[in-house]
Amino acid sequence: MKINKPVSLITAYLHRNISKGVIDTLKDVGVQDLYLTSSRSLVIEVKKGIFSILPGSDLAQDPTDTIFFLANPDMEDNLISLILEKGSLHFPGRGSVMVEEILLTEGHELCRENEIKPFHMPAPSFTYPCTGICCIARRGQGNHIARISLDTGICVPSIHFGIGTGVRDKMGILRIAIPAEKEIIHSFTTPYEADSIMDMMIEAGRLDQPGSGFIYSYPVKKGLINMRVARGEQRHPASIEQIISALDHLKGNIEWRQRKPGIEKRSVRQKRYITGLVDMLLLCDDGKGTELIKAAMSAGAGGANITGLRHIRPPDSPLSEIPPARDLCSMVVPEESVEAVSMTLKNAGAFTERCHGQIHLRKIIKAFTYIGK
């Protein structure tokens, strides 16, 4: 049934060793409906000693867990505080947490936002508005594109795997020659740098070629982002992240951080960005994503990315009816098509017992991909 309710989407990217503790704490305050996916984060780690002569990159990869859940907006500050506190995320290098304003449009009756009862938490340490950049690239390209975030120092990017559907599904059996596996890279930056970073990522990943991928930016209401892009010996009494953090606190905002990174790398060609789009995120049962997306494509969706998620809920909760393996289908559609796609999905049974579906909408600032001549 139609809901159309603005809720908060809280996402945290946490190092595998600390995620369990954070999840347990969230369960304690009443988060019954939590999603988790395995991902990896990248940092620069220069090889020391004898390893420096060995071939191989200077990137270190850490296993991380990406968790997210929907909650009522009035509790978002408390929840962020809780995650920050439990995960000690104010120490650089442990993870990021953020909250987005999204619209929960429709869903199965069991699929709603978490109604969190008020609990006391001190106000969160300094969080600030950011711009999220999501890039969908071919498998194997992830590190190359994510490196841009590391080289420009904006954040520690997070990468997870997905399967792409779209044009290739219309090609009959020949589609096996086009790989469907994707890597989805999430980076977060200040709104001032987002454009330059996007440009650089498009260049790096050659996203202006057909079939190379897709990139878009979206607004993040507030967050605390992990900026520890390099690991290794420190040559100063304080790390650069600590200094930036301290200055953020002192200034009370991030405007002092304005700059235009990579200006010498900027390409001459102007890129034609697409606006007026929305990211429709459909959560459904494992295995149902493909058929639902087929239906959506007939109503105007270009294609989607499907990521496997694990649904975490207390053992005795009514949500146990929903299978713990879920699919997240991310479809980027024009704003005007949202209604039609929703209706088609509903008719295909997305919100019934078969699929336990739920749709929420994420605004897209601008997007880029190959659109043809």
Partner: protein, 711 residues
């Protein structure tokens, strides 16, 4: 974004080819990359180190090409079809059926998988050199009761798949399963080593465990396990679903040992060949053979002259009488020798005495026949037979597994397949690829491996090159001369002109056939570093074994599938190549140690017990994630590429070194990869911890919980 229509896109032929070519190229190149090391290495070693020419080189090259093509097809088919099918069933079954049905399904699937995989047949072939008087129980299990062996192993594998799935339902850690099963196995093995008959089957039992999980079973079981563990259980992490392969490598060892113990009461004890064939021992040995004819046939074909005499109560006339009987009756001769034409005559020529040979008619006939028979005996490769045999085996291997899956899918789950054309195409690729690469292995890798394996001992002792058997016609015994050695011993020899050079050949009166006036001799290749430096030669063998194990493992399809799955589940943190390198190094080390076992005649128990004990300690220290991956990698390694090579090498070595049986190398090869992966895991874990600690303020490590590791 422009509106998309939902009609199909039609591609022109050119566009389709432009799309398919890079796709095919990528896959073939990937397989060439994994196979080149082992092939080049074997060729290089035999040609340059051992300095022996490669026999049947053209057949081998074609075989290698087939292996590459077959592997490319098979791997693609695995990912496209078989593993997807496994995931679907794994994900769908727990939703619709109660736990007991899922467990039952696992049991049946495990059993079928064992019947389908050709690995047990390979062990049987290796067992052909086992002598019933040296290892009666082993001989029984490999020949007459080989069916029971397969069923026992099947039961073990079925039980493990069942247990593995039970583990997922209750989110039990793999560690207690490992401690208990390894503990029980080591105790059983130790106890078995005390009985002379059971001692000989220890190698077989452990090898069976390592060999069962083959290139079709492993990816299927992995995909099933991952599918099921996603749907059940309460673990909060992403990387679960492993562990079934581990159990499937451990439990069958117990079932084979159990089978051995069941039969050990009724088999005779090991004894000398002469005693074995004595008349008063007859009732004891009869149960080792299918029937009287089989026993007689064995006596004629495999027993030495002494044994044969003993069988016929010390009276050689009785042997001749028996031969006459066989020569007179086609049926009887077929019952004893099988369907091969002129088998009896061939036997008479090669193993019969003069008297026995003349049963067949006059001298001239026999001479003519001898000439045609002893011409260069290249085994004629019958292409059609090869294709037929391998296609049937592929259909059996994959069909026996996928048909129950489809049945379950359509009957129990009543679900339609997403992308059915891809899945069916994938299964077709699997079958085609499996048949092709098995053909290629038989034509190429196997032959190569057997040659290298048989010649390998030439690095530390003198061996005969039986393929280069030469016959001299119209040999005049007057040509033989005598040489004397430092100790006064006389050695007879004669000169032969060959390829324009004059060489000396040692003279052995037994090789001179007076009736045919022919002398047969086999060239000898001496120790690589000259006699007296056997140690250097043995080192060469061990180094060879290590690199061979390393190279062969990198080519294994099941390991490839496991590595890809691990990379997928850890979202790229643990790269496939890293896992494969770690496992390959471990297998190389294991095979080197196994070879050492044969050359120095170390009992297998001495190698297995300490290695597993060490493993258990390291398992205790490792995280659940790595324990699962590490123990599974061991089960994966010994597959269609490694096993024939290792067995060929083992058989070749043990035949030369004179050991009862050449089993056990595979068992050693299965232990050490676990060690390397677990050690790698410890190192990676330590680095991660260190990185996290670095980030926090001095003195405290907030938020990080030790219980994360033992979920």
């Amino acid at each position: 974004m422009p509106q998309q229509t939902s009609q199909k896109i039609r591609l022109s032929m050119r566009q389709a080819i432009a799309l398919l070519l890079p796709y095919i190229k990528d896959r073939v190149v990937a397989q060439i990359k994994s196979v080149w090391l082992i092939i080049l290495y074997l060729v290089f070693f035999q040609t340059f180190i051992l300095k022996i020419a490669i026999f049947e080189a053209s057949a081998i090259s074609i075989g290698i090409g087939l292996v590459v093509a077959g592997l490319a097809l098979f791997m693609e088919g695995l990912f496209l079809g078989l593993m997807r099918l496994g995931s679907l069933i794994g994900g769908g079954l727990p939703k619709r059926s109660p736990m007991i049905v899922v467990l039952g399904f696992g049991l049946v699937l495990g059993f079928l998988a064992t019947l389908a995989e050709p690995s047990i047949q390979i062990l049987q072939m290796a067992g052909k050199s086992v002598k019933p008087w040296e290892a009666p129980l082993l001989f029984l299990l490999l020949n007459r009761y080989s069916n029971f062996l397969v069923y026992a192993v099947g039961a073990g594998v079925g039980a493990s798949v069942c247990l593995g799935m039970l583990r997922f339902y209750f989110s039990i850690s793999l560690k207690p399963f490992i401690y208990i099963s390894v503990g029980v196995l080591l105790l059983l093995t130790f106890w078995a080593s005390l009985d002379p008959n059971l001692n000989n089957i220890i190698g077989l039992a452990w090898d069976c465990g390592g060999v069962t999980t083959g290139p079709v079973t492993v990816p299927l079981v992995l995909a099933l396990g991952i599918g099921i563990s996603r749907m059940v259980g309460t673990a909060d992490s992403g990387a679960t679903g492993f562990g079934v392969v581990t159990l499937a490598s451990l439990l069958p060892v117990a079932s084979v040992l159990g089978l051995g113990m069941y039969f050990s009461g009724s088999v005779p004890q090991p004894m000398s060949e002469k005693d074995f064939f004595k008349a008063d021992n007859r009732s004891g040995i009869e149960m080792l053979f299918k029937d009287r004819e089989a026993l007689s046939g064995y006596v004629l074909k495999e027993a030495g002259a002494d044994g044969r005499l003993s069988f016929f109560e010390g009276d050689s006339r009785k042997i001749t009488q028996y031969i006459e009987e066989l020569a007179g009756s086609r049926d009887k001769s077929r019952a004893v020798f099988g369907d091969e034409p002129y088998a009896l005559e061939k036997w008479a020529l090669t193993q019969g005495t003069e008297e026995q040979t003349t049963v067949f008619g006059d001298l001239n006939n026999m001479q003519k026949f001898a000439l045609t028979y002893s011409e260069k005996n290249t085994s004629r490769i019958d292409i059609l037979v090869l294709i037929k045999k391998n296609s049937i085996s592929a259909l059996k291997a994959i069909g026996l597994l996928t048909i129950p899956l489809f049945l379950v899918l359509f009957l129990l789950l009543r679900e339609s397949l997403p992308y059915p054309d891809e899945i069916l195409l994938g299964i077709f690729f699997c079958i085609l690829g499996f048949a092709t690469f098995n053909m290629g292995i038989e034509l190429g890798l196997d032959k190569l491996g057997k040659q290298v394996g048989a010649k390998l001992p030439s690095s530390f002792k003198a061996i005969e090159l039986t393929e280069e058997n030469k016959t001299i016609n119209d040999f005049d015994p007057g040509l033989v001369q005598t040489a004397v050695s430092g100790g006064g011993e006389k050695h007879q020899f004669f000169y032969v002109k060959e390829d324009g050079k004059i060489i000396t050949v040692p003279y052995n009166p037994d090789n001179f056939d007076r009736t045919m006036r022919q002398y047969q001799y086999t060239p000898v290749k001496g120790p690589l570093f000259g006699s007296g430096s056997a140690v250097a030669g043995i080192l060469v063998v061990i180094l060879f074994a290590f690199i061979m194990g390393y190279g062969a493992t990198l080519a294994e399809p099941a390991l490839n599938a496991l590595g890809a799955t691990v990379e997928e589940l850890t979202a790229g943190t643990f790269k496939k190549s890293l896992l494969m390198q770690a496992v390959a190094v471990g297998v190389g080390a294991g095979i080197a140690i196994g070879v050492l076992k044969i050359v120095l005649s170390i009992p297998l128990v001495w190698i297995l017990l300490p290695s597993y004990a060490l493993l258990l300690i390291i398992t205790k220290l490792s995280t659940e994630e790595f324990v699962n991956i590490g123990w599974d990698s061991a089960g994966v390694t010994t597959g269609p590429i490694t096993v024939p090579l290792v067995l060929a090498m083992g058989v070749g070595l043990s035949a030369q070194v004179g050991v009862v049986e050449g089993f056990g190398i595979l068992a050693a090869a299965s232990v050490y990869p676990i060690l390397t992966v677990l050690l790698l895991g410890l190192y990676v874990d330590r680095k991660r911890h260190a990185a996290l600690v670095e980030e926090s303020s001095p003195g405290d490590v907030p938020g990080e919980e030790k219980q994360n590791e033992d979920q």
